[in-house]
Symmetry: D2
Subunit: 359 residues, 4 copies
Amino acid sequence: MRIGLLTGGGDAPGLNAVIRAAVLSANYRGWEVMGIRHGFVGLLGECDVAPLTRGSVSGIAHLGGTILRTTNRGNPLCFPVRNEDGSYSEKDCSDELIENARERGIDALIAIGGDGTLRIALELVRRGMKIVGVPKTIDNDVSCTITTFGFDTAVNTAIEALDKLHTTAESHDRVIVMEVMGRDAGFIALHAGVAATADVILIPELPYDIEKVCEKIMARDRLGQNFSIVVAAEGAYPKAEGAPDPAHPHSRRAIRAGSVAERLVGEVHDRTGKECRSLVLGHLQRGGMPTGYDRLLATRFGSAAVRAIEEEAWGYMVALQSPHLVNVPIAEVLREEKRVDLAHDVVQAARWTGISLGD
Amino acid sequence: MRIGLLTGGGDAPGLNAVIRAAVLSANYRGWEVMGIRHGFVGLLGECDVAPLTRGSVSGIAHLGGTILRTTNRGNPLCFPVRNEDGSYSEKDCSDELIENARERGIDALIAIGGDGTLRIALELVRRGMKIVGVPKTIDNDVSCTITTFGFDTAVNTAIEALDKLHTTAESHDRVIVMEVMGRDAGFIALHAGVAATADVILIPELPYDIEKVCEKIMARDRLGQNFSIVVAAEGAYPKAEGAPDPAHPHSRRAIRAGSVAERLVGEVHDRTGKECRSLVLGHLQRGGMPTGYDRLLATRFGSAAVRAIEEEAWGYMVALQSPHLVNVPIAEVLREEKRVDLAHDVVQAARWTGISLGD
Amino acid sequence: MRIGLLTGGGDAPGLNAVIRAAVLSANYRGWEVMGIRHGFVGLLGECDVAPLTRGSVSGIAHLGGTILRTTNRGNPLCFPVRNEDGSYSEKDCSDELIENARERGIDALIAIGGDGTLRIALELVRRGMKIVGVPKTIDNDVSCTITTFGFDTAVNTAIEALDKLHTTAESHDRVIVMEVMGRDAGFIALHAGVAATADVILIPELPYDIEKVCEKIMARDRLGQNFSIVVAAEGAYPKAEGAPDPAHPHSRRAIRAGSVAERLVGEVHDRTGKECRSLVLGHLQRGGMPTGYDRLLATRFGSAAVRAIEEEAWGYMVALQSPHLVNVPIAEVLREEKRVDLAHDVVQAARWTGISLGD
Amino acid sequence: MRIGLLTGGGDAPGLNAVIRAAVLSANYRGWEVMGIRHGFVGLLGECDVAPLTRGSVSGIAHLGGTILRTTNRGNPLCFPVRNEDGSYSEKDCSDELIENARERGIDALIAIGGDGTLRIALELVRRGMKIVGVPKTIDNDVSCTITTFGFDTAVNTAIEALDKLHTTAESHDRVIVMEVMGRDAGFIALHAGVAATADVILIPELPYDIEKVCEKIMARDRLGQNFSIVVAAEGAYPKAEGAPDPAHPHSRRAIRAGSVAERLVGEVHDRTGKECRSLVLGHLQRGGMPTGYDRLLATRFGSAAVRAIEEEAWGYMVALQSPHLVNVPIAEVLREEKRVDLAHDVVQAARWTGISLGD
């Protein structure tokens, strides 16, 4: 048996621990592993593929990033190819991809990625490839799994940043707005904000009212707490503007990093007269050494993916349904979007501990 | 409504976040909170009780320890009282405790603690007190809840230590044995060991064979990996000696800190001739700032405990059954001991990634 | 003896450790301490002054920020006062300040702050007040002292961020530009960049040539290192534009946070075609728990300031001239600006380890 | 030019950053570098030597340990060789070492190590080898340099541990004794203890009086501070016992790790009746990622060592005499021992902030 391994989409802390565990768990069964670089694109054209051995995964479990590299671009099902006149058109390269994998003796694939990667994987399974998926999302927005690796690290990075901002905001009687990842789902903002005792948390699932935000800030001022910390997911938006155009469900994907923070700083200053500053956490959330939780979960996912291959669970994804790992059909995973449940106890805890959600 | 709040048993990172969330969630409902110091003992004699206000819990969520203090000693159901002749005998002081609580106008109690504290709480509920519990255990050995606050912090502390030992072991071609907490349950050793890619993990649930441990170390040597990292729970013991006397199920509780590490260092050195060193992580595992996971979970537990009081769930404990918090009867919690399930996927992942469990 | 204590200018990690050490060292001599809030402004009008006791400084040494609060605004020598017609004009309020201090029985002052605060302190000394200074600057740009507290913390925060960006840049074949503090002095960028093995470091002391920056990035690409990390001090500027107007020596002070990062991202992408991202570290550099180095140095400075009062070193500032602490005249400190010495061994080490300085 | 590079003695955080900087700085001059494994022993017998290239030092600056391995054993000047009858005797193997270096074309050596390594280096210089030294000591006990890499990391590790112990000691009303490295010099204990606001600090330079230690603990109890933190260097000893035998100046080298902590726990408990616990920090102090300060200093030292070779500074060691790096004769370095100066301002700051030094 020879299995291929690839990582797709944005990087997340823990990818290398998945890779390591999958390689060792495959070796344990006497199987070989081929690493495919830059996601599915590594199986097109000349291919970018090389063996992964015990040696090549030694000492990588705690490293951020992915030794296989990754890319947010390049869907093999609609791959940009150059026409003779120099223009580009999109082409379905799945036949080429499947043929390349066969030529290299790859019997089955482990695809580690988010919605986009899983969608491609499912399509390729329908065309006959043997693939199992491993969920990857910083934002915790892949459904059918309690969580995925990378999210805990991102939340801890956000909390550490909030702890730092807290002391400087307090010393200067300032409002500080911190923008975190989350275009469609507000999990990072919510979890980090509750854990770090923010004063206001704004998430895409609950459009905010700027008046309510400023009321909270001024109420604190009246109590002598002359500073406030606002955490905003990058997809947060004011209720007054209505939801993004429903005909363009992914219109929020075009959000420019920093725009929410910038906007809030302006609006809060104008309404409250307080000194306001912002921080856009950006790529700090993706990088660095995974937390213990993520290192463990990633190792479990990598091992479980090899077991899923043994079980011939093609078109399935490994998932955490605590305390167990299970295989769930990718089709089911893609059917629904995972968002913050406004009735969940974390949201209640936020409100009861005095945090405004801007509503 | 006036509720009392106490922490019992050894301290764990996150206790202050539970306290803060409970106080704020009670205030949210217009309730008062009284802090009881040093566990149930604070309700005996003169009592050691004081109001907990918004001000007294401000800025404590990220602090280790407990502002209410705690103690491992002093069960009010068999409390040591001094006889006239100067000797001590044990007395059931529950009537006094119940009366003291009533006199101070405490309508209901939140008891945050481990098996011991919960056992006392249940007994007091049977005698008419209104108590809800919050589970606390560094070792993750309270059943009916996926996990509790403090465990993630302890695991991360252990992983950080293992990361440090890894580089020095490698530079010196040494074997390093690190002893972690876990007299009856090996969760810290297992989770930290897998996440930090230890070479050998020894837990109480699986008695070890020293020959197997040394085989693993020598096998690594033959591959040119001249160092090894062994993680041992303090309750780990050699198979050859048999389980501790079944007539004394808690005989392992008398374990002296450091004895497992010391013993392993001697045995491994004698059998392999390799330079061996040890580290006993001890109290480092209890202290310090809780991780983001624990800060969030502790905040959720504190809020949920107040909800449980609202629901009059006397004799129940809040518990995590992901993704939800539920109330479970304390009687059920105490019925079974939570131990590492040897068939769990974490144990499989350990084996498949090449870790010896000494069996 | 009763001494007053104040912090001025932007906050820096370690301020609370200075305050604590000063209070305890004064108590050690039987002296009282009054805390003056919000810098020198706390001695104007109604004053904002309160006793600092052993209790009020207990447990604050490791906290970021300053319990005395601070402000970047409000020079008592040219304080904005409201005219009858509603307009504002600036007034020298030093007489009022000196009188207020006398009325409150303050015999001597410890002023902890940067250039601005020290300048005010010196002026007040000339008008008869008894003041000693403690240097405070995140940027390490106060002269006559090897370094000050806060700088080591800021550098470590920048390094941690660079470590995180490193793995994500590498996984995505990206250029990432990180902007750090330093309008006039590039110490943070230089020290963090060398320690974190950045590829390009841009500082105000050495105007950059964008072509040289891009050459370095492309040279790395040719070696198969398809990512690069650029650290830029916020005061870095292109050689082509010439130095800021010499008639406005502080024109760089008006720099908008983020503008250097934004500009570099655009220029590098245009010239190299590479995917570029930026991070503006901003207020993360000021906040949070001080490093061990800064906690120690701040404690030493706080103790030494009290000794300086004992020595009646009015108009002097405590300074580190390793391995000793000395008193230096504030007038001398203000005479020259401390900048990165381009002949210093750190700059050499940067070049020799392959870092481009954009020149 | 071909230079050899070796690390000797116990490992210290920053060694890899020195190695990397030396290799790159040599490459910068067009020189080759050979890595010698396991210290000077790697130049005996078959030798254990391999080229160090840009690739072999890529990405190692932040790693603990040393890629060249090291050993505390094996002085080539009195090397254990096996006699025909199976017994061992010591032999001066310096001729063999010098010849081996010549055969491999090694023109000059950089020896990174502590007193022991530097002593060997100096002897070999006297026999004609071209060697420059780089100081390495966790304990900060190499003279003629303000500090060395590794010390700042060790101090920060100790401070982090003290912060953790602080909260658990306070919650349980306990005394906790933490033992840190320092057989002859108490710098780690002193710096970490002052920065982390310990209550008692015991160092080898100042023999302690156990009565004074207990007085401090009881005085705190009387103020309602029912816990205390004691930091003891492993070489601390009671005044009553007198200094170690002056005829055996290194008798303290035989100190068993943990013995000071164990002894203090017993004595304090016996005298005060308080619950006491201990932690032996041990190898945690050597391992792990170096701090920013150490990464920078190590990089500077590595670069400066190559410059020292260029300057033909044979028998010299690079040293930090802030703000500059200089070359100092190894003979001078070895002439005097660096110990805590009891008149230094750090010691004063300790006393003035209420820390007992046990005297």
